[in-house]
Symmetry: C2
DNA sequence: TCCATAGTGGACCGATCGGTCCACTAACGA
DNA sequence: TCGTTAGTGGACCGATCGGTCCACTATGGA
């Protein structure tokens, strides 16, 4: 039995739905995004959305996964398999997220949004954050030479700075639009950590 | 003509509505909070809500203003009219926001949430942020002795750290639950700024 | 005491919500 | 060529949305 070839139309439609949903969800959050909105922005009827995804929860879980993968792909290109110092990493994170903001915008929203039933999208995003913190921590241990607890603290601070700067951008403030300020902060903190 | 005394019941109801709305809005955001939810949590009928507030937009604008004032009152007690260094301020901000999270939770949500019509709550929160940044900047100029641009950069970094740490707490991470890490970061950055 | 008014209770409105159903088309394998 | 199936179009569902309306109660001032 030959592997069934997926119809070109089906895959393309799934893409259009995910793109439209990611766009709107990054602007309005889970509760603020209606299936009808996704339908009209993607140009596909609601029945197509429910054919590709079982329900709203599953759709937005797929949106998180998909937009994360698309951002990660771009990010990995910029990293190009090097090990990075905290200040290098924070610059790459900041700049790549400024170019592909949909992923983190929706991510931040689902962190803050609670619902009666736990959202799959939220669980997925929290898992991505947890793994990212671990990766950053391990990398910082190698590139700065500090011990594991100090590296974990560095990672937490780096993530907080990136999140905070992203929020400031969303608020229309240009105070941290330049990533060099973040790098300077982390460099000072790394030096302080090393000398103690 | 004697000033008309407001009925005790009316003011108390307004309070209950604002408290209920702030609670739910901090969990679900603007779009995710329905007037029916506010009605049942406050125990007052919808007609009472619409008697006290003209519409949903006005209600949540009042929620931002009110929850800000209540947090600010508590914060000012802790500050006790001193001038603070960046590291002192960030600790007080972090801890007071951990104790009164409703204000910033909803604030972050309305930063990220967009709507067809600009939300009054969002505009109010952005204005509060702007004024806070100015106040922090002026204070840091006095307490650290750096020049105005450096003080503004310090304020932006301090705010980003507080926002980022708050988001990490909302995500259930305890990596930055202790505010001393934030203080250490800012102290290192202040020293670095001074010596340049 | 009696009227004016602040505020409550609840039925009700049209629009929209998430989701279902089913007829239908187009492309594929046999 | 023909039957199967992936995928589309659109009508439709009950529930809930933000908001309105109005009868009603309770209270304070005259």
């Amino acid at each position: 039995m030959v592997e069934r070839i997926t119809r070109a139309n089906g895959e393309a439609s799934r893409r259009r739905i995910l793109d439209a949903a990611a766009e709107i969800a990054g602007e309005r959050g889970y509760a603020g995004t209606s299936i009808s909105d996704v339908s009209s922005r993607s140009g596909l009827p609601k029945s197509s959305i429910y054919w590709h995804f079982s329900d709203k929860d599953a759709l937005f879980a797929a949106v998180i996964e998909d937009s994360y993968e698309r951002w990660l792909e771009e990010f990995n290109i910029r990293v190009s398999a090097r090990d990075l110092t905290p200040q290098e990493l924070v610059v790459l994170l900041h700049d790549s997220l400024a170019d592909f903001p949909a992923f983190l915008r929706f991510g931040h929203l689902v962190i803050l949004e609670w619902h009666d039933t736990e959202l799959s999208a939220r669980a997925k995003f929290l898992d991505i954050r947890r793994r990212s913190l671990q990766n950053m921590s391990a990398m910082f241990e190698r590139t700065t030479g500090v011990d594991a607890p100090a590296a974990a603290s560095l990672a937490a601070v780096a993530l907080a700075l990136v999140d905070g700067a992203f929020l400031a951008r969303a608020a229309g403030e240009n105070t941290l639009a330049d990533s060099s300020a973040l790098a300077a902060v982390l460099e000072a903190f790394v030096d302080r950590t090393r000398t103690i």
